[in-house]
């Protein structure tokens, strides 16, 4: 079996959520790689929308570190305004997006604004970017996170990107037209949300991870099955495609 890094496993798991032909609003960093991997494997007809004002249905012709790299503009379907990309999103034309975050809670609310008090924070983070918009308006969105107790908290300090709020019915009450997080992919496992309680639950555990590690790195008492299924590792082909898009291992930890 191929050797792979934790990030490569996460990106692969993320990519597998993209169905062929779906419209994906693609964020920075790992989400960008996940989209490229999906396009290069099982979802060749996926369409990518980028907040810079880019729509493309082919992969960039050369490796890119970020969505603003010129190969990502080359032969795009549309180079337009951010407002045009946001129009497609707000209308409901986006099936799926990926968001990275610093702090998440059991309802999938995400914080990328500040750790601690907003006025006197322990750490000020970069902010929403497009993440709030994706969490509010995409058909579904997937969170990609490092799994650490300080990040997996019972209640985030600041909701940058709404998940299920305080539980069932919250999104509707807030006026959000659709969506919600469908999965969380972490350094330890893959999670989904119980359709009734809207609480995060384990789907698969990454190879070599002990359930106890997940319990201890999660800041709320998370229910775990006795013997959770393992996350399917990346195939040789997936790794090959992934490494074509990230040849230096900049994002996938091989540098």
């Amino acid at each position: 079996m191929a050797s792979y890094t934790s990030q490569e496993l996460m990106v692969t798991a993320a990519a597998r959520h993209v169905a062929d032909g779906e419209v994906v609003f693609v964020g920075m960093r790992l989400p960008l790689l996940g989209f490229l991997l999906a396009k290069g494997t099982h979802a060749p007809n996926a369409v990518g929308i980028f907040e810079l004002g880019i729509v493309r249905d082919s992969a960039a012709p050369a490796p890119i570190l970020t969505m603003g790299d010129l190969p990502n503009l080359y032969r795009a379907n549309w180079l337009a305004d951010t407002g045009d990309a946001m129009a497609l999103l707000q209308q409901g034309r986006v099936d799926l997006s990926f968001i990275g975050g610093a702090q998440v809670d059991l309802y999938g609310n995400l914080n990328t604004t500040c750790i601690g008090d907003l006025q006197l924070p322990e750490t000020r983070l970069p902010g929403s970017g497009g993440a709030c918009d994706l969490a509010c308006l995409a058909g579904r969105h997937i969170l990609i996170m490092a799994h650490q107790r300080r990040r997996f908290v019972p209640r985030v300090d600041y909701i940058t990107s709404p998940g299920y709020g305080d539980g069932p019915g919250w999104r509707r009450r807030m006026g959000l037209p659709r969506g919600g997080p469908s999965a969380v992919i972490t350094t330890l496992g893959c999670f989904s949300f119980d359709p009734r309680s809207r609480r995060m639950r384990l789907e698969t555990i990454h190879p070599g991870v002990a359930p106890e590690t997940i319990r201890s790195e999660t800041g709320w008492p998370i229910d775990l099955p006795e013997a959770p299924p393992e996350t399917t590792p990346p195939t040789e082909f997936e790794l090959k495609v992934l490494r074509r898009f990230d040849p230096q291992g900049y994002w996938t930890g091989r540098r």
Binding site: E51, G68, M86, R124, P126, S128, I159, G175
Partner: protein
């Protein structure tokens, strides 16, 4: 004959950016960020600026580190390929900086409201989020037709908008291409527009393709010829992104002292963009050149 608006960058910044001005920068998000203009503001020791932009990449961080900034209205402040903006963090955590948190969509609507001359625009984003806690320009409202809950976004009208474009004529007609981000809205919304251009060309060049024009010349206050003005961000048609510069900046800016050393070298240590490019060196410059060209299919604008 319309007025010539060509001037040097230091003149343009001196004339149109005052202490306390609100300045829209980096409206292309990751491309065409007018680093040259931000650096000149730092050299001129502007104070109490309000910076407006969706994702500023590291330019906002540099201006904050130099003590030029009172407030930021932005969706994201950091370093796109590495994450944190350390000067931004330090300034906020030490309560030297006010931040009004936007998302990319609320910033789009804020500038679009400014552009359209209305005091607000409605959206369906940020509902349920905490953004209204750190942005008084966001308020939940009810649709007068459907009764549904919406997020109203208050207009932003910058004093100045600075845009890096590919080519301009001396009268303010200019071509911009690539992903355009919020640039059109920012130009329309702003009182003054400064264009920094990779090339100055004859009016006939711009007039051959009026669809490629970003904003009408009569609204432009200054045209500045500034090759490599957007480095290290990419400029479609001219140069690629200089990733190493972003990585180097990340390392340098981890401490205030490190940032000051970086600033002494790359901003205060060069009197203008020409000297900055000299310092980068021809090898570095050549490594960023386009290798694969793609020339647009002609369109006929005749009659």
């Amino acid at each position: 004959m319309p007025a010539e608006k060509r001037m040097r960058l230091d003149e343009a910044i001196d004339r149109f950016v005052e202490d306390g001005s609100s300045v829209a920068l980096g409206t292309g998000l990751e491309t065409c960020i007018p680093f040259c203009a931000g650096h000149e503001m730092i050299r001129q020791k502007k104070q109490n600026l309000v910076l407006i932009g969706p994702i500023s990449d590291i330019l906002f961080d540099q201006l904050i580190g130099a003590g030029c900034v009172r407030k930021v209205q932005a969706a994201w402040v950091g370093n796109v390929i590495t994450g944190s903006g350390y000067n931004f963090r330090r300034a906020y955590e030490q309560k030297r900086l006010v931040v009004e948190d936007h998302s990319n969509l609320t910033m789009t609507m804020a500038l679009r409201a400014g552009a359209m001359g209305v005091p607000f625009m409605p959206s369906k984003t940020a509902l349920g989020s905490d953004l209204p806690r750190s942005n008084p320009g966001l308020k939940a409202i009810v649709c007068p037709f459907t009764g549904e809950r919406l997020m109203a976004v208050s207009a932003i009208r910058p004093d100045v908008c600075i845009i890096a474009v590919q080519r301009a004529d001396p009268f303010g007609n200019a071509h911009a291409w690539g992903n355009l981000g919020l640039s059109k809205e920012a130009c329309l919304a702003s009182e003054h527009i400064i264009l920094t251009a990779e090339r100055i060309v004859a009016p006939e060049v711009i007039g051959s393709d009026p669809n490629r024009v970003l904003t009408p010349a009569f609204r432009v206050s200054a045209v500045v010829h500034e090759p490599w003005g957007a480095h290290p961000s990419p400029m479609p048609g001219f140069y690629n992104r200089d990733h190493q510069a972003f990585l180097d900046y990340q390392e340098a800016s981890r401490t205030a002292e490190g940032y000051n050393r970086w600033k002494a070298t790359w901003i205060d240590g060069v009197s203008d963009r020409k000297k900055y490019v000299d310092r980068l060196g021809s090898e570095r410059i050549q490594s960023l050149a386009l290798r694969e060209h793609l020339i647009s299919e002609p369109a006929d604008f005749g009659y």
